[in-house]
């Protein structure tokens, strides 16, 4: 009887473990988890970091599609830590070692042309430009200390039409944690402008840098 119970428990829990797992998309500064509103290097503080992940898939070494996330667009907001956890079904693969995660940062142009949508794409989330239509793919806001003065910065990065399409896809080795290294992102920036609020060359460059700052933490 005892053996039977333990046996069932083991079977149940292993099904549970196999069925779902998640990876976490984490922001870091100097290798530790970024805390909103904290001052780093006596220079930077971030109070908003919000962005879209789109069309998340897992692919294996043969480039075969193993898994497609059921939600096409996921809004990640550092103010809501649960939004940083993206669930993926785990049951299809035995070893995660050789899998790669492939996803888009932002909202593709087809979705951008669809009109009013709900859920993560609801304009109420503050990720839609009103004066010029289009989703903000990545929103980064905070302060920077400049010669003893605290200056605000706001980067609303988006734009979905050529030549300033900011939608980008990236592929990384699968890992349960992906880090966005904000120190790396800030280092790459020229800081010529503290406000970037519209599609254009600057937005394209910054999104590229944002993408290169995303690493699998293996």
């Amino acid at each position: 009887m005892k053996g039977f119970l333990i046996g069932t428990l083991v079977v149940c829990s292993s099904i549970f473990v196999q069925a779902q797992t998640h990876f976490k998309i984490n922001a870091t500064y100097a290798n530790s988890t970024l805390v909103l509103d904290s001052l780093y290097d006596n220079t930077y503080a971030i109070n908003t970091l919000r962005f879209y992940l789109s069309d998340i898939v897992l692919i294996d070494t043969n480039d075969s599609l193993i898994y497609t996330h059921p939600k096409r667009h996921v809004l990640v907001d550092l103010k809501h830590p649960t939004s940083q956890e993206v669930y993926v079904h785990d049951s299809l693969f035995d070893s995660k070692a050789n899998l790669r995660l492939h996803f888009g940062i932002g909202i593709d142009s087809t979705t951008n042309s669809k009109g009013a949508m709900a859920g993560d794409l609801d304009p109420i989330n503050g990720m839609y430009w009103t004066w010029q239509s289009g989703y903000i793919n990545v929103k980064i806001e905070g302060t920077k200390q400049l010669e003893g003065k605290s200056e605000e910065f706001q980067f609303h990065l988006g734009g979905f039409t050529a030549p300033y399409n900011t939608y980008r896809t990236i592929t990384r080795p699968y890992s349960s944690i992906l880090d966005i290294k904000m120190d790396q992102f800030f280092e790459q920036m020229t800081w010529e402008r503290l406000y970037i609020m519209r599609p254009g060359e600057e937005a394209v460059d910054l999104i590229k840098e944002f993408c290169t700052s995303i690493h699998s933490s293996l």
């Binding site: 042309s113 009109g115 609801d122 304009p123 109420i124 004066w131 239509s133 289009g134």
Partner: protein, 301 residues
């Protein structure tokens, strides 16, 4: 009521309801009046909340389904999302969608309208925006004298025929039939406006080639949509024609279609105006399906 009709009624009610503005004073119709083919004629530039003055003339609203891009500079590419611009603009309606949702949920009027339109009374931004679109898509103007002539139900006068030929020779490449616009972006030779120095499409594309390019407006319903141009600088069609005959063709930004200049005699101008007036669609202007919805907004009367 059938769902599409219910959605149109909901959209029409929202369009005329000042509840969509922060202090409940400005509705979409404040700037887009049915009697002006949904343009605005009192002011050159639009007037919004607390008398703030905008930077552009409110355009007429009709045949929107055929317009790939909205706004004078094409900043908006989807009718659903266009409405967010006036609603949230601090000088127009200065309201937030969040707050509108609260106002609608607690009103007596709206939950049943959402129920009829969508099968349940849940009120979301998506439903609001889709209903506004639904109503605006019903604003179709296609019953002017010109349209009746094309259907052999009416005939042009000889002056109108002469004007039609002048139109075809001079205007048609940009103001193409039957919508009387290609809805592309061009420069028609206007000097930059001195108040706002509006650079038009360049503002959206960041491409200097688009400097001072604006969306070509339709020539339908001109009798109701004055003043004309993105900044409302002309009040009379005669002034518009005088502009076209005095364009400075060496102007770098000027679109190719106008590089050869336009010359029209005084008689030509009269004939051309006579033709343009055949594009007025009175049935559209007085269509009571498009006007203030008393049944939902003033039910007690």
């Amino acid at each position: 009521m059938e769902a599409t009709a219910a959605k149109t009624l909901l959209g029409r009610t929202l369009f005329y309801d000042p509840l969509l503005s922060a202090d409940n004073t400005i509705s979409c119709a404040s700037c887009h009046s049915p009697y002006n083919a949904f343009a605005h004629t009192d002011h050159k530039l639009s007037h919004g909340i607390r008398d703030s003055i905008g930077t552009r003339n409110a355009p007429a609203l009709f045949n929107l389904a055929w317009q790939p891009k909205l706004m004078w500079d094409g900043a908006s590419h989807h009718l659903d999302m266009q409405a967010l611009a006036p609603i949230t603009h601090p000088g127009e309606m200065a309201e937030s969608i969040e707050n509108i949702l609260k106002k609608l949920v607690s009103s007596n009027t709206y939950p049943p309208l959402f129920q009829d339109a969508y099968g349940n009374d849940s009120i979301t931004s998506q439903r609001i925006l889709k209903a506004l679109t639904q109503f605006q898509l019903t604003l179709v103007s296609s019953n002017a004298k010109y349209d009746r002539v094309k259907l052999n139900k009416d005939t042009f006068t000889s002056q109108e025929i002469s004007g039609y030929k002048l139109y075809q020779a001079n205007c048609k490449l940009c103001h193409a039939e039957p919508l009387f616009s290609t809805y592309s972006f061009k420069n028609n030779g206007l000097a930059p406006d001195t108040n706002n120095y509006d650079i038009g499409r360049y503002n959206v594309t960041n491409d200097p080639k688009d400097s001072f390019f604006f969306k070509i407006p339709s020539l339908r319903n001109l009798s109701y949509t004055y003043p004309y141009m993105h900044d409302g600088r002309y009040r009379k069609l005669r002034e518009v024609l005088n502009h076209y005959t005095s364009i400075i063709t060496s102007n770098n930004n000027l679109s190719l279609e106008l590089k050869n200049g336009i010359s029209l005699t005084t008689n030509d101008k009269a004939d051309l105006i006579a033709f343009l007036l055949t594009l007025n669609d009175i049935d559209f202007i007085f269509n009571t399906d498009n006007t203030f919805p008393r049944e939902t907004l003033l039910p007690q009367e």
